[in-house]
C-alpha cells in the first residue's frame, strides 16, 4: 500500500558546502490514518524536515511523495496548483506569528478554501465555523482578530485552518505547546479521531514526549540531522535502543524523580 507521505534520503544544505548540511539522508513514512511522532533536541532538524516536506526548504538530495506523487520536483505554477489542493498542510510552532493580525479568525480559516475557489463566501464561512467547532472553539470567535484571542485559542485556530481544506498530510510543529492540559488533551483526542475518520497522515513534531504517548503510532528520532531510531511508539518510548533516545526520554522531568518515561509507564 502506498503511504500518504514518503520522504526518502532527504538532504537539506544551508549553503554550498557539505558542512552546512542540516538533514542527512532522512527518511520518513506516514501511512494514511497514522500519527508519526518526530522527536529530537532543538536543532536536530525536525522543523527543517517538516519545511522540506512542505516544499519550503529546497532539497539538496532525496524526494518527497504524497500519495505516491513526487512533489519535491514541482516548481512555480505547478507547485502552487498542488498546494491549492490543500493535501499537505503545515501548522507552525508560533501561533502568534502564524495568523495575519489584520484578518479575522474566520477569514484566516477560510482563506485556503477561497484560494482554491471552493463555494461561495457563505459556504466558506460555514466550513470555517465547522472547522472551529472541530477543534473545540466557539464559532463566535470567528469575527475576532488574532490580537483579541488567547495564545491557546490561536493555536487551535491555526489547526482549524489546516483542517478546513481537508488535507491528506498534516505537519504539526509543536501544536499543543501553548495549551493547558485540558485543551491539550482535547486537541490530541481530535487529532486521534480525525486520523481514523479522515484517513489523515499526521507528522507530530514535539518536545513533549508525554503528548505522543497516547496517540502516536510510530516515532522517529532525529539527532544532528539523521534518523537514529524509528519504530512503533510503545517500543521507542518504553524500550529505546539508541543511547540518544534513551537520554532524551530519561531527561523528561518527573514529579517523583528523574526516572525515564518508560520506567514510569511500567510501574
Amino acid at each position: 500500500m502506498t503511504a500518504a507521505l514518503e520522504a526518502d534520503g532527504v538532504e537539506v544544505w544551508l549553503g554550498r558546502r557539505a558542512t552546512s548540511r542540516i538533514l542527512d539522508g532522512v527518511g520518513l513514512t506516514a501511512p494514511a490514518g497514522q500519527i508519526v511522532g518526530l522527536i529530537g533536541e532543538t536543532g536536530s532538524g525536525k522543523t527543517t524536515l517538516a519545511r522540506a516536506i512542505a516544499g519550503l526548504a529546497p532539497l539538496h538530495a532525496g524526494a518527497v511523495r504524497v500519495d505516491g506523487v513526487p512533489v519535491s520536483g514541482l516548481r512555480g505554477a505547478e507547485l502552487r496548483r498542488f498546494r491549492r489542493t490543500g493535501r499537505v498542510q503545515y501548522v507552525f510552532q508560533d501561533p502568534l506569528r502564524s495568523l495575519d493580525p489584520d484578518l479575522t479568525v474566520a477569514e484566516s480559516v477560510a482563506e485556503g478554501l477561497a484560494v482554491r475557489g471552493d463555494g461561495r463566501a457563505a459556504d466558506r464561512r460555514t466550513a470555517a465555523v465547522a472547522a472551529l467547532r472541530l477543534v473545540g472553539l466557539d464559532p463566535a470567535l470567528g469575527d475576532r482578530l488574532p490580537g483579541q484571542i488567547s495564545g491557546g485559542q490561536r493555536q487551535r485556530v491555526t489547526l482549524a485552518r489546516a483542517l478546513a481544506v481537508g488535507p491528506r498530510v498534516l505537519l504539526l510543529d509543536e501544536p499543543v505547546s501553548a495549551l493547558d492540559a485540558a485543551n491539550r488533551n482535547h486537541v490530541l483526542r481530535v487529532l486521534d479521531r480525525l486520523r481514523r475518520e479522515r484517513e489523515l497522515a499526521i507528522v507530530l513534531i514535539t518536545h513533549d514526549l508525554g503528548s505522543l504517548a497516547g496517540v502516536a503510532d510510530r516515532i522517529v528520532v532525529l539527532h544532528h540531522g539523521r534518523v537514529v531510531e524509528e519504530g512503533p511508539a510503545t517500543q521507542v518510548l518504553l524500550a529505546p535502543e539508541h543511547p540518544y533516545t534513551q537520554r532524551l526520554i530519561a531527561s523528561v522531568p518527573s514529579i517523583d524523580g528523574p526516572r525515564p518515561i518508560y520506567a514510569r509507564s511500567t510501574t
Partner: protein, 317 residues
C-alpha cells in the same frame, strides 16, 4: 466603523491643535509690531495715518477679541484683506493654492510610486545588488535638500538638456501636457526625500513581514506571489511606511515654499514669502492657517487609511 472611529479620534485631536496653532500664528502676527500704515505707506506714514488704518483694520481692539473675530471669520472663508494691496487674502490664496497643491500632489504621487516600487522591489530581492543599490541611493537622496535637488535638476534638464522649463507655471486649463511639463522638475525635486524615506521604511517593514509564519503559511496554501505580497505582506509591512508618508505630507507642503522660490512659481509659498517681506501680516496669517488646515486634513486622511489598512494594529486581548 473602524474608519469612522479613526476619523472621530483624529478630529478630536485636530480641533485643539488647530486652535493652539492658529492662536500662536495670530499671536506672532500681533507681536511683530507691524501695522497696515507702515506696510502700505512705509516711512511716509504719519501717526494719524497709522491710527486711522489701525482702526480701519480693527487693530485698536483687544488681542483676544481680534483673535476670536479672525478665527470666526476664517471659518466663513474670510481671512481679511492684505494691508498692502487691500485684496482679500482668501482670494489671493484661492488663486495660488492650486499651484502649491499641484506641486505637492504630484510630488506625493511620485514619492509613492518611486518609493513603493523601490521599497517593494528591494524587499522581495533582499540581499541582492538591487536591494543594496536602493539602500545606497535612498541614503544619498535623503541627505540632499529639495532646493539643491531643484537647482541640480534645472542645470541638467533645463540648461544642459533643455527638455523642461527652468521655471514658471501654466494652469491645467491651458493643457494637461504643458501643466505637467512645468510641474515635473519642482515635483521631482520635492519628492526625492520622501521617496527615499518611503523606500527605506517599506523595505525594512516588508523584509520583516515576509519572514512571518502567516506569510509562509499563505505560500503553503498556494497563494500566488502577488496575493502573498499585496494581501498579507504589504498590508502589515506598510503601516510604518504609511505613517512616515503622513509625516512627509507637511514637509511637502512646507517644502513647496522653497521649491516655488527656486522655480519662480506663483504658489502659496511665494505669497507667504512676499507677505512676510512686506510685513503684510494678514497674508502671512492666512497662508499659515491654510497650511495648518492642509496638514491636519492630510493627517486625518493618513489616520483613516491606517485604520482601514491595519484593523488589527494596536489591538490586544
Amino acid at each position: 466603523m473602524r474608519a469612522l472611529h479613526a476619523v472621530g479620534r483624529a478630529a478630536l485631536i485636530a480641533v485643539p491643535v488647530l486652535l493652539i496653532s492658529t492662536f500662536i500664528t495670530f499671536g506672532l502676527g500681533a507681536l511683530s509690531d507691524q501695522n497696515p500704515a507702515a506696510a502700505a505707506m512705509g516711512e511716509t506714514a504719519t501717526q494719524a495715518d497709522i491710527d486711522r488704518l489701525n482702526h480701519e483694520f480693527g487693530l485698536d481692539r483687544p488681542f483676544l477679541e481680534r483673535y476670536v473675530t479672525w478665527i470666526g471669520d476664517a471659518f466663513t472663508g474670510d481671512l481679511g484683506r492684505s494691508w498692502f494691496t487691500h485684496i482679500p487674502v482668501a482670494e489671493s490664496i484661492a488663486q495660488r493654492l492650486p499651484v502649491s497643491l499641484s506641486i505637492a500632489a504630484l510630488a506625493l504621487l511620485l514619492a509613492v510610486v518611486l518609493g513603493a516600487s523601490a521599497g517593494i522591489g528591494a524587499a522581495l530581492t533582499a540581499g541582492s545588488w538591487f536591494d543594496r543599490a536602493v539602500t545606497a541611493v535612498s541614503a544619498a537622496l535623503s541627505t540632499i535638500p529639495a532646493f539643491v535637488a531643484g537647482i541640480a535638476l534645472i542645470v541638467v534638464f533645463a540648461v544642459l538638456i533643455p527638455v523642461f522649463p527652468a521655471g514658471g507655471y501654466v494652469p491645467p486649463s491651458q493643457g494637461i501636457g504643458p501643466w505637467l511639463t512645468y510641474l515635473a522638475l519642482p515635483a521631482v525635486a520635492l519628492s526625492l526625500d520622501s521617496a527615499a524615506d518611503l523606500a527605506r521604511q517599506l523595505r525594512t517593514g516588508l523584509v520583516g513581514t515576509l519572514r512571518e509564519n502567516y506569510v509562509t503559511g499563505a505560500v503553503v496554501r498556494g497563494l500566488g506571489p502577488r496575493r502573498v505580497v499585496f494581501v498579507h505582506a504589504l498590508r502589515n509591512g506598510a503601516g510604518p511606511a504609511l505613517a512616515v508618508l503622513g509625516l512627509h505630507v507637511p514637509r511637502l507642503i512646507g517644502g513647496a515654499v522653497i521649491t516655488e522660490t527656486v522655480f519662480a512659481m506663483p504658489g502659496l509659498g511665494q505669497l507667504a514669502t512676499t507677505g512676510a517681506l512686506q510685513g503684510d501680516v494678514p497674508v502671512v496669517q492666512g497662508t499659515l492657517l491654510v497650511a495648518i488646515a492642509l496638514v491636519l486634513a492630510s493627517s486625518l486622511v493618513v489616520n483613516v487609511a491606517l485604520a482601514r489598512l491595519r484593523p488589527g494594529s494596536g489591538r490586544t486581548v
